[in-house]
Symmetry: C2
Subunit: 350 residues, 2 copies
């Protein structure tokens, strides 16, 4: 065709949250793949592993013993990247070498005592329990006035640098605002000041009208492939009501978020019939930093797989040095995810 | 110690080229690694591989035949992410879904007819030949007034998404300015306007005085671990003279750059006694876009390995959602690289 067509021609798309553009090359999956093929991680974990430091009753690196927990369990990371007692200080040499000390807390959350069950395989009520724990952690961490931002996330799969297969998430809370949150704050604030509504409220309206990128929807949440997605099957969960953090969700919203999380992760596992690797995490308002009326809670899923359970997208050369780039359109990815069954392929029936 | 110490305490450092901060957690390598261990790629390639589409005389995907080249060889990528004939167009739905068409050219550069020799193993004169070819390509591509930026880079190693082990680089030239170049342009311009010297001229002065992060130096180039390095053994090559692109190098500078490239890549291979994977590429002025008196040519190396030939740094969860983060200090990395022998561990003596 000779007129510009998003399904056919290379183009760039704007990420309205970060203000950055992504390069989309729709025709590019046609190239044959002769590169690295990932090995499949083992998928025969026991329900309880006596040497896992996350399983109930086991010993951890610091010598302490996990309680015999039956739902979920949070504790401070034995190898935290951020520490609470960092001396305050800064360095500036001619404004060219600049550093500032950083303090914070790193937490680990075991999602369930079951060593073998991921979010996709847990019951919705158990996922709701994890959401309630996230809210509780957010509340407790934000009570320290030095903490300015709380990053709740999960690395899933060894391909995503996850070093323990027991399903778990992490929280990094710190005394400054990380780059990605800074960018999203700037763009949401700009939009809110002009329009008096949150950026994602209006974005959701357009997406629910277009329907092309919607994967799942319930009363309180929408799961979609964002128009500007970078990773092949990247998605976002957005709350229909503008809340600024996980703390503001009602019981009913917690339940609907649990259902959305379950639905999305089941579709992901079904896509390549493998426990689908990803990094996922919430973006929410900074804390102890004023009102932030512009912030609209959402959750990003960044999964690396591109063509199969063993062929991933490499964000390398051009992407590292120049610009994010993707090979299939977000619309095609959304359609593929929409067409997945809502029952887990292992059909464990729990 | 109780006063703030860069070698000991978590802190953030400013990248003066992008304006972005990186989180440094010096204590964090102490954690044991139970996660993914990469497999070592095969390292017994023949000098000529009859099925390699980059070797001399072989057939390519489009049916054409490579010449019997004896030095290096450039051609247009048979699976280009950018195409020259994209119809011009743009889309904006309520300013929330925004896209623009993108056109360009993708080139591939075989570094040598030898299927088995990387930059680290080529003679300096052969590397100088590659630099001359880069300059030639830069010149030719910039003669098209629609091209605004030319990204010259190399993905090395299957862990970096390189799909053919025959040593080669790529060039992506396009009609807009990629994100990373945009950021570096903004910050270099700001500095140049105030100081009348390039940002990297003054940065080099500080680094050459401090010496802590210098890896190698000759008359015309410095190899260093930048103060704000993200990847464990990330380095930069910076030209001592402020030139804006590879096209401006004298013969003598081409030779010194070849020597710097050889020296750095030999150190890299020696570090873990493996053909060291990385993405590397030049950053230089946009083209057909005015004077850009602020731009100072440099080359980034982003290598993923952290602890050994099989344990890499994962830029995942916190890094994707929050902020870049590293586990060893740039000073420690520079010292390790400085201590490597300047003779390749295979000692092929070429
Ligand atoms: O062009 P290649 O070598 O097929 O592909 C490789 O380099 C490209 C440019 O950095 C990336 O977009 C791809 O993800 C990577 O696999
Ligand atoms: O904290 P873990 O699970 O040991 O480590 C993992 O997650 C961290 C936070 O995203 C990353 O910095 C590490 O590179 C990754 O391996």
């Amino acid at each position: 065709s000779t007129s510009f067509d998003l399904n056919e021609h290379p183009h760039t798309r704007l990420n309205i949250l970060t203000g950055e553009w992504v390069l989309v090359s729709p025709h590019r999956t046609k190239r044959p793949w002769q590169g690295k093929v990932e090995s499949l991680p083992a998928d025969n974990r026991p329900q309880h592993d006596p040497v896992c430091y996350l399983c109930a009753g086991n010993e951890r690196a610091d010598g302490s013993k996990n309680p015999d927990y039956t739902t979920n369990f949070a504790f401070t990371n034995d190898y935290s990247a951020l520490l609470p007692d960092t001396p305050v200080g800064e360095i500036s040499i001619d404004g060219l070498l600049k550093a500032e000390s950083q303090s914070g807390v790193c937490r680990v959350i075991a999602f369930s005592p079951r060593h073998d069950l991921t979010l996709a395989e847990l019951e919705i009520s158990a996922i709701k329990g994890i959401i309630a724990l996230w809210a509780q952690e957010f509340k407790t961490l934000s009570e320290n006035p030095a903490i300015k931002h709380i990053q709740i996330f999960e690395n899933k799969g060894d391909i995503m640098g996850c070093s323990n297969p027991h399903p778990h998430g992490q929280i990094w809370a710190q005394n400054s605002i990380p780059l990605e949150i800074h960018k999203e704050t700037v763009n949401q604030k700009k939009y809110f000041q002009v329009n008096g509504r949150s950026l994602l409220t209006d974005y959701l309206k357009v997406e629910l009208k277009e329907k092309k990128r919607i994967v799942f929807e319930n009363d309180n949440f929408v799961v979609l492939v964002p128009f500007w997605a970078v990773w092949p099957y990247e998605t976002m969960i957005i709350s229909k009501r503008q809340v600024r953090s996980v703390l503001e969700f009602t019981e009913e919203e917690q339940l609907d978020l649990a259902a959305a999380l379950k639905n999305l992760t089941v579709r992901y596992d079904n896509l390549f019939q493998v426990s689908f690797p990803y990094s996922a995490g919430m973006h929410q308002m900074p804390v102890n930093d004023g009102d932030h009326a512009e912030w609209h809670w959402h959750m990003h899923f960044y999964p690396p797989l591109l063509r199969s359970a063993t062929i991933k997208k490499f964000m390398v050369g051009y992407e590292m040095l120049g610009n994010a780039q993707r090979d299939i359109t977000p619309e095609a990815a959304a359609e593929t995810l929409r067409n997945q069954p809502e029952i887990h392929y292992k059909n464990k029936n729990i």
